[in-house]
Structure formats: C-alpha cells, structure tokens
C-alpha cells in the first residue's frame, strides 16, 4: 500500500506536485494518469525517497522510504529504463542491486528468465534496445519479489508483443495481492490494465476513482447520422424533439442511444441515409476533457481548421 498525504513539491516558484492525497491499494492495478509534465514522475521519485517533498508525507506499507532497511524486497520500481551504467552487463547490474539488499544471488537468474533476457545477460547494457532496457528495468523491480511495484511509463518503447506481455505481468502481480502502481499518459493503455485510476493535472488530483466508475461517468454514447438531405433530416429530427450537433465531416451527432429512433424516423419520412451508427466516445476523449485545463504543454494549432473542426468539440463538452 502506498499512502500519499498532502504531498507537495515546489521547484522555486513552480509547483510540480500540489497537495496530492490518495491511497494506492494492494491487489489491483492502479493507473496513475496525467498529461506530460503533470507531476507523475516527480511524485514517484518522492515515493522512492529520491526527491524530498516540500510538504506532506508519503509512506509505503506504513513506513517512510528511508526507514526501509531492505527496500527492494518492499518496493520495486521501474523509473527510467536508461538508469543503468551502459558499460555494465545486465547480470552484474542486477547482481550489485541484489547484494545491496542481501537478496540471494539466485534471484538474478530467475528475474532474467522472467523478463526473457537470459541470452543477453552477459552483454553490456549500452547495446540494449529500448525494449530490452525496459525489460532489464522490470527485472530490477522484480528482483526483491516486493509487495509493492511501481512502473513509470512501462510500455514506452515496447513493441506490441512487449506491451501485451507487460500488461499481463502487471495484472498477474496484482492478482497475487501486490500493490501495482503504474503511470501513463495514455488513457487507452490504462483502460486495458488498470482497475483503479488516479488522474492528476499540473500536480493536482483530478480524479481518484475505479476504472468502472470512470467509464460509466465519462464514456458518452451518441448516434451518428449522415444524409445527402440534411435539411429534411434536421426538420424531421427537430419535429421529433431530437437535438443534434454537426460533426466535423458534415455528419450529425445526437446524444444518447438514439440510432434506432433516427433510423425509423428517416424511413417514415423517406430520407436517404448514407450512415447511421451508434457510437461511444473514447475514454481518451474523456481524459482529455478532464485534463484540458491543466495541460502543461499545449500544441498550438496553426491556421486553425475552425470552419469544420470546431463545431463538434463545442457540442460535446
């Protein structure tokens, strides 16, 4: 269990993490979500005692990180796959970590096997691809067979097969009763792994909710309809009391599960339809809406395609 209590980190004037309070529970995968620069990595560094909090407190199974005498058997973390001396072999990298925590030497071979790096164990880490380095970082996290695991953006740089592997790994670790805390800036990734969500933006807690609850609240369903006779269709819909908003490509969107009604309406009025489909807004959209006000680095849209791009954005909010 990881307990954050009013955790705050300031760098001069800039607040990186702002009074974060939440609990990461065992037995489930907890996703830690936020746009780039939201303070996810800073929070994780404070959990590991690498950065000193400006205010607040963080405990792992009730203890501060500095109080852990054999930290790797309490918490394993993958922060940065490149946090390895490139001249050292994978085996020696893991060996020096095992020795510092009194972990039996045999564990090194075991975790190398778990992550599939046995064949390259004696090679220097600097020759590793990003995916291999990521696996080595995961091996280091698993080394002490810890109760708490923390992964910072673990799927970055992995191929689809690797992504699939790590998703299953995280789920199986949680199923064993471990606490699994994994950060990401991709909602779609979290939707496939996490049972619980902690969302932050500009260092502040935006949501602390179960994945199911998040989906229920944010996944908007709507019907999408496209017709070569939009005026007639609009009239018919208006008559029936269905409000629609124009979508980017000239289609119309109606909130809720109205596809069947719209189809019947069109048939009754003899209106030609080119498309009629029930849709679900993606969780990614929901996440973007949630964090819209707190995105650190906005990409500027040059020569904004307002004429056809903004209608739907306005309508969905």
């Amino acid at each position: 269990m990881i307990e954050l209590d009013g955790l705050t980190k300031r760098y001069g004037e800039k607040v990186a993490v702002d009074g974060l309070t939440c609990t990461v529970r065992p037995g489930i995968v907890t996703g830690f979500l936020g746009p780039n620069g939201a303070g996810k990595s800073t929070t994780m560094r404070m959990i590991l005692g690498l950065d000193h909090p400006t205010a607040g407190d963080v405990r792992i199974d009730g203890r501060h990180y500095e109080q852990l005498t054999d930290p790797l058997t309490c918490i394993g973390a993958l922060l940065d796959a490149k946090a390895v001396h490139g001249g050292r072999s994978a085996y020696n990298h893991l060996l020096c970590l095992a020795q510092s925590n009194g972990i039996p030497r045999g564990r090194v071979g075991e975790v190398l096997e778990t992550v599939g790096l046995v064949a390259v164990a004696r090679q220097k880490a600097k020759g590793f691809s990003y995916g291999m380095a990521q696996r080595l970082g995961i091996a280091a996290a698993l080394l002490g067979d810890p109760r708490v695991l923390m992964f910072d953006e673990p799927v970055n740089g992995l191929d689809p097969e690797g992504i699939h592997w790590i998703r299953n790994l995280m789920k199986s670790l949680a199923a064993q009763g471990r606490t699994v805390f994994v950060s990401s800036h991709l909602m779609s990734e979290m939707a496939q792994t996490a049972d619980h969500l902690v969302v932050i933006g500009q260092g502040r807690l935006l949501a602390d909710t179960s994945m199911a609850e998040f989906v229920r609240r944010h996944a908007r369903s709507y019907a999408r309809v496209r017709s070569p006779q939009p005026e007639r269709l609009l009239d018919a819909l208006h008559e029936a009391g269905i409000t629609v908003v124009p979508a980017a490509d000239g289609a119309l969107e109606a909130e809720g599960d109205k596809a069947e009604r719209i189809g019947e309406l069109a048939a009754r009025h003899g209106i030609v339809l080119h498309e009629l489909s029930p849709r679900q807004a993606s969780l990614e959209e929901a996440f973007m809406r949630l964090t819209a006000g707190s995105v650190e680095y906005h990409a500027r849209t040059e020569a904004g395609p307002r004429s056809w791009g903004s209608g739907r954005q306005g309508g969905t909010a």
């Binding site: 560094r45 390895v84 067979d145 592997w165």
Partner: protein, 294 residues
C-alpha cells in the same frame, strides 16, 4: 535475439511458494525471500561488484600501473647507465620512483571522480539510491571500496618499482635506504595517492559531472605550481613560496625526501594535510548528498 519470446509472466514462478498475507495492518503479498536487515557490508559488496564490472576501472588502473612501472623502470635504467658514482653518492635510490607516480596519479583521480560522478551521468544513481536509501551508507561504501582498490594497486606498483630501482642502483654509490625510507616511499606514497583519489571521488559526488570533476581535480593538482612559476615579482614572493611548497608535486616529493622546495611540509605532513582536506570534502559531500534531490 532471444529477447523476443520471453516466457509469459512468471514472476510467481520465480517465487513459487507465496502465501496469502499473514496479516499485519498492511495486507497483500508476502515473499518467500527471507528479509535481511541490511548493513554497510551489503553496500560494500554491491560497490565492489560495480567497480570491478566496468571497463573504465580496468583501463584507468592499467594505465596507472603502466605509467608508474614504465616510467620507474625507464628512470632507473637511465640513472644507473649515466650517473657517475660521485653524483649519486648519498642519494636515496627510492626517490626515482617519484616521476612515475607524479604522472600516474591522474589515472587515480580519474577513477575516483568516475566512481561517483558517472552514476549521475548514466542515471544509475537513482537505481543505487532506491536500492539503498541511506545516502551516507552509499557514499561510505563507495569510499571504502575505492580507497582499498587504489591503495592496493598503488602499493603493489610502487613497491615493485622501488625494489627494482634500488637493486639497479645498488653499487652505484647511492645510499642504502633505511626501513623508514622504504615505508614512506611505499606505504606512505600509496596512502597519499589513495587519499588524493578519495578526494577526487568526493569532488565527483559534489560536482555530479565526470568531466567537471576531473577538470577541477587536475586544476587542484597542477594550478598552484603553474601559478607559482608565473609569480616572478618580489612582492608576491611569500605567496609564490607557499603555492610552491604546498603544491601537489612538492608535497608528493616529501615522501621521497627530494623536496622540490627546500622548505615547507616535511616528514609525514603531506599525509596529514591530505587527510584534513579529504575529511572536509567528505563532510561537504555528505551534507550535499543528504540534502539534495537525486
């Protein structure tokens, strides 16, 4: 590359006998791996694995041995071939080991800085500090391992050179060195060089940048002597003499009794001075390490 088909998630297989949590206020997974209360010994074992498993250690130490032994043998050979009995009379044959050590110390400085600073360059320091949250323990373990390695390698090299040189020069009229001379020219010099390397290690920890740390250390070693050479005016005489007497090369030469300057530190003074410097740097490095974010 076999990294591709890894066995499917087998973290549990690696730890086959996990049981349901035995309670406590924090439920969850319990590992079969015995819990060990770690101490400095674990950190030392870890640092030993680190220092022996990178090629920069092998390289810097090989070059060091090559310089100390090579220059030592060269100087010994030249002196025994060309010096007349008269010019050698009464001189200490061990003193010719000085030149190799003077050049070779750069390697020890480099290794010292790399031991700490390279972890910041690679990001390894975050892994290290995560594995051992006691920052003082990490610094102490690095210092112990490095000091031991530097001392042993220096002692073996300078002792070899001293023995070869004294046998080359025996019968050339040079004095026969006393036991005290031998002790200073071997153990004394090795302690001095290992301490200099330790100072470099601490500077590396404070600067957190390999190239920066090495530059600062080379500056410390060379600058006083170079500055003194350019202080020609009489008004700067006392400053010049001080810089000259306390510059690294002349302090090193004290161990060989052929003091470059006639005055200044004598006997074991340079070692005490270096100890004081290293202790101060150690305190500074510890305070910075404890208070800064990694």
């Amino acid at each position: 590359m076999s990294t591709h088909q890894p066995p499917m998630p087998q973290a549990p297989a690696a730890a086959p006998h996990w049981q349901a949590a035995p309670g406590g206020s924090y439920p969850g997974y319990t590992s079969p791996i015995p819990v060990v209360r770690t101490h400095l010994g674990h950190a030392v074992a870890s640092e030993w694995t680190k220092i022996r498993s990178v090629r920069s250690t092998i390289w810097t130490l090989s070059v060091f041995v090559f310089l100390v032994v090579g220059i030592g043998l060269l100087v010994g050979g030249l002196v025994s071939a060309h010096a007349s009995d008269a010019s050698m009379s009464g001189s200490n044959p061990l003193s010719f080991g000085f030149f190799g050590v003077l050049v070779g110390n750069m390697c020890i400085i480099t290794l010292g800085v790399l031991t700490t600073a390279s972890e910041y360059g690679t990001g390894m320091i975050r892994t290290t500090m995560t594995a051992c949250p006691s920052r003082g323990r990490v610094l102490a373990a690095k210092a112990i391992v490095f000091f031991a390695v530097a001392f042993v390698v220096t002692l073996v090299s300078v002792s070899f050179v001293a023995m070869v040189q004294s046998s080359m020069l025996s019968g050339s009229g040079a004095a026969s060195p006393s036991g005290g001379d031998w002790f200073k020219a071997t153990v004394g010099v090795s302690l001095y060089i290992a301490l200099l390397g330790l100072l470099a290690l601490l500077v590396g920890s404070m600067i957190r940048h390999s190239a920066g740390g090495i530059t600062i250390m080379i500056g410390l070693v060379l600058a006083p002597l170079v500055l003194a050479l350019f202080m020609a005016t009489e008004s700067l005489r006392s400053v010049r003499d001080f810089l000259f007497e306390y510059s690294f090369p002349s302090q090193l030469s004290v161990f060989y009794d052929n003091t470059l300057s006639g005055s200044g530190p004598t006997g074991w003074d340079p070692l005490w001075i270096m100890m004081g410097l290293t202790a101060a740097a150690g305190a500074g490095a510890y305070v910075l390490l404890r208070n800064r974010d990694v």
